[in-house]
């Protein structure tokens, strides 16, 4: 038996990359109901309780649901991106070792990490997109502006990448024994300080919290979404959001890929 003809490295690596991505998509496709339940339930209930129930009972002002909806798109993208990457990565590196077969595929280790990011980003974009019809169903109507569409797409992609970046950093730094505690310590603050339920400029009355939320990169996803869909609500200028997000994503990817190499190669 001889080795199969070795293709030129670049072609071979591209082929390996798409094959690994295909495997992940295949598994998601097979577990579609689980995937949907996993990504939709939380924003669905937030939307239902805060957007519908509280509004119907008169505890929130008219129009709050339209302010909330863009924030929930941001939340869904970031959280789904993070969960799609962090959980499986911790388990694959620390417990099942399933990732070894991919690390030994003829592709650079950085590409294995890149595939994880691309896959998590795709899942996050899908989840947030599904929230649009869900929003229509729950709220009856959602804020929509075609002129804001390019900004919406940009915010969606950057938000998904942000989630994936957070997931990559957490997934490579956390040992399996700690995943539960780390997730509860990171997840809940991230969820409630990311300006998905309130616009950032309105926090000027609560200065210290405004500072805290400014440190959460998810805030800039929520604000960019609002700029795209409900520009009448005061929001952070879109270009500031985009600059902060590009910077955050770059930093997280740099740290995450470095962590990935450290886990993959001794």
């Amino acid at each position: 038996m001889t080795a199969a003809a070795v293709p030129t490295p670049r072609v071979g690596q591209a082929r390996a990359f798409t094959a690994v991505l295909r495997r992940d998509l295949y598994v998601t496709g097979k577990e579609l109901p689980v995937f949907l339940a996993q990504v939709i339930l939380q924003p669905l209930f937030l939307l239902f309780v805060f957007g519908k129930v509280l509004g119907s009972l008169g505890y929130t002002q008219h129009g709050y649901s339209h302010l909330l909806f863009p924030g929930l798109l941001a939340l869904t993208a970031v959280i789904t991106g993070m969960q799609s990457l962090a959980f499986p990565l911790v388990i694959e590196f620390g417990w099942t070792k399933e990732i070894e077969d991919r690390l030994l595929a003829p592709m650079s280790t950085g590409l294995v990490a890149a595939e994880k990011v691309v896959f998590a980003t795709l899942r996050a974009i899908t989840a947030a997109t599904i929230m649009i019809p869900v929003g229509v169903l729950v709220l009856g109507s959602i804020p929509w502006r075609w002129s804001g569409f390019p900004l919406l797409v940009l915010a969606l992609v950057l938000g998904s990448l942000l989630g994936a970046g957070l997931g990559l950093v957490m997934g490579t730094l956390v040992v399996p024994q700690r995943i539960n505690i780390v997730f509860s310590l990171v997840f809940t603050p991230l969820l409630f300080t990311g300006c998905s339920q309130y616009p950032w400029p309105s926090l000027s009355r609560l200065r210290w919290f405004q500072v805290v939320t400014a440190c959460n990169p998810m805030t800039y996803v929520s604000e960019a979404m609002r700029a795209a869909l409900v520009p009448s609500v005061p929001h952070i200028t879109p270009w500031v959001c985009i600059v902060v997000l590009v910077g955050s994503v770059s930093a997280l990817m740099a740290i995450g890929v470095r962590g990935f190499y450290r886990r993959a190669i001794d």
Partner: protein, 330 residues
């Protein structure tokens, strides 16, 4: 001229914060189609050596080559030439066994139709044809092991690395795996296995390297290693020792004066050395050990001692291993 399947020169690995080298300057080559066994106690550096050869551990210095490709310099190409069967299952639990095989092939660029054909063939060969649609979670240790070997063969690697291939398998599964490995060797696949099972090494390996403390202590065919051990046959004596001056050390000294005796080793075994004055000794003998039974009995009789047991044997790989790495647990 073709390059060796595996070539290692002055390979060193020192982990950060460790005061010693895990692998301490080893060199060896494995010819194409050879079965090479790497033996050593736990912590000897076997796994680190394999890690460096399989691109998962970065060498501190020295060179590791697979099929003439420098593993550290070009890990991507090296990966297409090698395959690894780890000790513990790392099968993909989310997909069926058959998909484990076909996706592995896809990672390695094997066309789908070809991958499908090979998967059928390997499932058949490894006795898992009926179970292709089952997920790995449902598999026993032996079945997982077989599956991982089958998966490794999907991209027709030049070198197959196996870490403790039969640890934890029942005897039938072990024999099955050994048979498959012999078939692979007959097909020209280079096999490199790490093991601390001497029997496995003697059964399968063309050559054996014995490692300890990061160094390669010996490297030869199992037969040559056994022959190289002091003496080429052994005589084990059980002695009812009593009285002063008849401890195992004194007896060893006396017995080593017999003609042909090269070394006397007191044995510490579970039969309770030292109890009731029982001493067990192993004599390594040049030539035929049976010739020594008479003289040994006579020598003991002179000292007022009697033989309680006699056993003739040839040194095993285990004796070689123990002689080189010692008996202490670690």
């Amino acid at each position: 001229m073709t390059s060796p399947a595996v070539e290692v020169s002055d390979l060193v690995k020192r982990y950060p914060k460790s005061p010693v080298n895990a692998v301490d300057g080893i060199s060896f080559a494995v010819a194409r189609g050879e079965v090479f066994g790497l033996l050593g106690p736990n912590g000897a550096g076997k796994t680190t050596t394999i890690g460096m050869l399989t691109t998962r551990v970065k060498p501190t210095s020295g060179q590791a080559m697979i099929g003439g490709i420098d593993v550290a310099a070009d890990p991507v190409r090296a990966r297409s030439l090698l395959a690894v069967v780890p000790q513990r299952s790392n099968l993909d639990r989310a997909i069926s066994i058959r998909r484990n095989l076909t996706f592995h092939a896809a990672y390695h660029g094997v066309p789908a139709a070809e991958a499908s054909r090979r998967a059928d063939e390997l499932l058949e060969q490894f006795g898992l044809r009926e179970r292709g649609d089952v997920k790995p979670d449902m598999f026993s240790g032996g079945q997982s092991q077989r599956m991982m070997i089958a998966r490794a063969l999907m991209h027709e690697p030049m070198v197959l690395f196996l870490d403790e291939p039969s640890t934890g398998l029942d005897p039938a599964a072990r024999l099955f795996v050994w048979d498959r490995l012999r078939e692979l060797r007959d097909h020209g696949v280079t096999l490199m296995l790490t093991t601390h099972d001497m029997h496995e090494a003697a059964e399968l390996a063309d050559r054996v390297g014995i490692m300890d403390h990061g160094k390669l202590l010996a490297l030869d065919t199992p037969e040559a290693l056994m022959r190289g051990l002091a003496g080429n046959s052994t005589l084990e004596l059980g002695v009812n020792a009593s009285g002063d001056g008849n401890g195992s050390a004194a007896l060893s000294g006396a017995l080593s004066t017999l003609p042909g005796v090269e070394q006397v080793e007191p044995l510490h075994d579970e039969s309770g050395n030292g109890q009731d004055g029982q001493v067990r000794l192993r004599l390594y003998v040049a030539g035929d050990a049976s010739q020594l039974v008479g003289p040994a009995a006579a020598l003991l009789a002179e000292r007022g001692l009697t033989l309680s047991g006699v056993e003739l044997g040839t040194p095993t790989l285990e004796d070689v291993f123990i002689a080189l790495t010692g008996r202490s647990l670690r």
